[in-house]
């Protein structure tokens, strides 16, 4: 099925949130920008931008073959130079996170590939990559147990916990956290931390991230329903696309 490109802007700043300081940078997404993958998404959060694509379920190499579940693989490409050890670590974190969300036992003896390409890094690329990968998997149509939302937090130089900072705020950070939650019970799926922090700070960051993850889940719901409604409605009317978009842009999200 040919699906038209899709773009929705949602200003999370304007949402009426009960908790204070619960602000994520502006989230924006373009679905299926690529034609050769089964599903792809261009996900941006603030100035950070990643392109994710997925392929699967497809044939698997014999050494990776598993008779009980699908083999999941993730490739992370930095935009300059060869992948470093740190990039390999990110790759593993993303793969394990996505594997826990996928219903891999439904497709034994197959492989699911996830590719992530960094476009612009303005802090929080790992969280951005996980969110983008989740959208690509949703568009690619592989069965999932739940959707996942990743939120990035730091402890800044004044020992304060900051939710989803931009690159200026992150200068001199003491620690950084990435929390990933599932959409069902908002349970923690993945935690990835670096730096030195106190347990209290960790708990604060987790609470803030859990509340903020709802913004991302609402965004998923909105963009996916919009995408599918639109592909039913329109075949190739660009004019109609822009009309729909302008309506969506003016809407505000309620939590």
């Amino acid at each position: 099925m040919v699906t038209p490109p899709d773009s929705i802007t949602m200003d999370t700043q304007g949402s009426n949130v009960v908790l204070q300081d619960l602000k994520l940078r502006q989230i924006n997404c373009e679905l299926n920008p690529l034609t050769r993958s089964d599903g792809s998404a261009l996900f941006t959060q603030g100035g950070t931008c990643v392109l994710t694509s997925m392929l699967g379920p497809v044939e698997v190499k014999s050494q990776n073959l598993n008779i009980e579940k699908a083999h999941v693989e993730c490739i992370y490409r930095p935009k300059a130079g060869i992948p470093t050890i740190e990039d390999k670590l990110t790759e593993t974190v993303i793969r394990d996170t996505c594997e826990s969300a996928l219903l891999t036992m439904l497709h034994p003896r197959t492989a699911i590939f996830i590719q992530i390409q960094e476009l612009d890094d303005r802090c929080g690329i790992e969280a951005c990559a996980i969110n983008g990968a989740c959208l690509a998997l949703l568009i690619g149509g592989v069965p999932m147990k739940f959707t996942i939302a990743a939120v990035h937090c730091i402890v800044d130089k004044d020992d304060k916990v900051v939710l989803d900072p931009d690159h200026c705020e992150a200068i001199g950070k003491r620690a950084s956290f990435v929390f990933v939650f599932d959409s069902l019970d908002k349970n923690l799926v993945t935690v990835h931390t670096s730096g030195r922090f106190r347990m209290g700070q960790f708990n604060d960051a987790e609470c803030m991230s859990r509340a903020a993850s709802q913004i991302i889940f609402n965004f998923y719901r909105r963009i996916i329903s919009n995408f599918h409604n639109k592909s039913l409605l329109t075949a190739d009317s660009k004019a109609r696309n822009t009309e729909v978009e302008s309506v969506v842009k003016s809407e505000q999200m309620d939590i």
Binding site: P4, S7, S37, T48, E59, A80, A235, D236
Partner: protein, 431 residues
């Protein structure tokens, strides 16, 4: 994953259509796809789309030791990455034949033509020079990767700024962008690649081939040209070219295309520079917000009807459904069926309207043939034009070399002469 084989029926369809000056995406044989360039937030990052083919380029630099043979010149390294994102059958980390071909062609176009002023990259002779690295990540492969990569590399090079350095007590200090304004690159000339695919035993040339056309074609022809109509690289792969007139004619058209592309790159760079000066947000995020990145994908139908255009009527919904059924991943056979369907609807319900006054689905045969002939005569007629003649002479010399060496595959030479007399002298030396 293995590449899906192209069936005989698909091949036959493409070759037959090309002979009638028809292509699946609605272009004529000599038409190119639209180029779109977006710049990232960092210096030296560009996302270039040629139709649906997309390439991300990033230029980076670090200090290093120069080659002992060239102690006062910087070094350029070009890396092409064909990952699974580009197409399912590519494997990252493995050097495929296509990968080597693209990087060699780009090296000849950018390094061997000496378009970058390497001496300006020298910090201290024999000790420290800038090592420039151009990373080309292919995001989507819909044919003609070489053209797309070359445009991406050129735009990224022109966009790139390296940090300023100062030497204090034999110690190199690299200034951040806040301390000292970064220095833009110095380029002597702006080369790009323009490729053609040859069909019908080298009698027909198809510009800017799509992925399926590339796989069907007899041979591929790549010109590396700059905006001064100078040839930097010529690559002929596949079976041998049979007509020299076709080569000359392609070269003339390629030169025109190269000029257009370079002008477009300059224009977008100027636009980006102004946006930065006005302190507007730049980068890919902004492009997504303005819906620029897929704006080129006006609709996702690879099948377009050139001679017919859709007419909006009450029944158009039914018609739209017909069109969406022409999935781009489906075989050409089905596509051809879809075309017939649409034509049939035309005769019954008149939903489709012809662009031309007389309705004809297949263009005149002599139209396709005259395509070749008129181009030849045009080339001869234009002999008076100095620049065009110098280009054709350059190509003729390449041809002579081809016949001399009697090699049938992948022959190329670099030519960088500013006028015809120079190139003649050099040919004498070589011959």
């Amino acid at each position: 994953m293995r590449e899906t084989p192209l069936s005989t029926i698909e091949r036959n369809f493409i070759t037959q259509a090309v002979k009638q000056n028809l292509r699946l995406d609605g272009r004529k044989n000599d038409e190119f796809r639209k180029v779109t360039i977006n710049f990232g937030a960092d210096w030296g990052s560009a996302l270039v789309a040629l139709g649906e083919t997309k390439v991300l380029a990033q230029v980076s630099c670090e200090l290093g030791v120069p080659k002992s043979t060239r102690p006062n010149e910087g070094i350029i390294y070009i890396n092409v990455e064909l990952g699974q994102m580009a197409a399912p059958h590519f494997e990252s980390g493995r050097n495929s034949e296509l990968n080597v071909q693209i990087s060699r062609t780009l090296e000849r176009t950018f390094k061997d033509s000496r378009c970058v002023d390497l001496e300006s990259l020298c910090v201290t002779s024999e000790e420290r020079v800038w090592l420039l690295r151009i990373d080309l990540n292919v995001l989507n492969h819909e044919g003609n990767l070489i053209d797309c990569c070359s445009i991406a590399a050129l735009s990224a090079l022109l966009h790139f700024k390296r940090p300023d350095v100062s030497i204090i007590d034999n110690d190199v200090h690299i200034h951040s962008a806040a301390e000292k304004e970064p220095i833009p690159m110095v380029l002597h000339h702006y080369p790009v690649c323009v490729s053609y695919c040859l069909f019908d035993d080298g009698r027909l040339a198809v510009a800017d081939p799509s992925a399926s056309e590339e796989r069907t074609a007899d041979s591929a022809l790549v010109f590396g040209l700059n905006s001064f109509r100078e040839l930097c690289c010529l690559n002929l792969g596949g079976t041998t070219l049979t007509s020299s007139t076709l080569l000359l004619q392609c070269a003339t058209r390629a030169a025109r295309r190269a000029k257009f592309v370079v002008d477009y790159v300059k224009e977008t760079l100027e636009f980006d520079k102004n946006a930065r000066e006005d302190n507007k947000n730049t980068g890919f995020t902004e492009c997504v917000r303005l819906n620029q990145i897929t704006a080129l994908a006006e609709n996702r139908l690879s099948l377009r009807l050139r001679n017919f255009k859709m007419q909006e009527t009450n029944e158009s919904k039914k018609d739209n459904e017909m069109e969406t059924s022409g999935n781009e991943d489906e075989s050409e056979e089905e596509d051809s069926d879809a075309q017939k369907n649409v034509v049939a609807i035309d005769s019954k319900s008149a939903l489709l309207e012809s662009n031309q006054s007389n309705i004809k689905w297949v263009p005149d045969d002599d139209d396709a043939e005259s395509n070749v002939e008129s181009m030849c005569s045009e080339n001869v007629a234009d002999e008076g034009d100095e620049s065009e003649r110098s280009l054709s002479q350059q190509v003729e010399k390449q041809m002579r070399k081809f016949s001399k060496k009697e090699s049938k595959r992948e022959l190329s030479r670099k030519h960088l002469q500013h006028d015809a007399s120079d190139s003649e002298e050099e040919t004498k030396v070589i011959l």
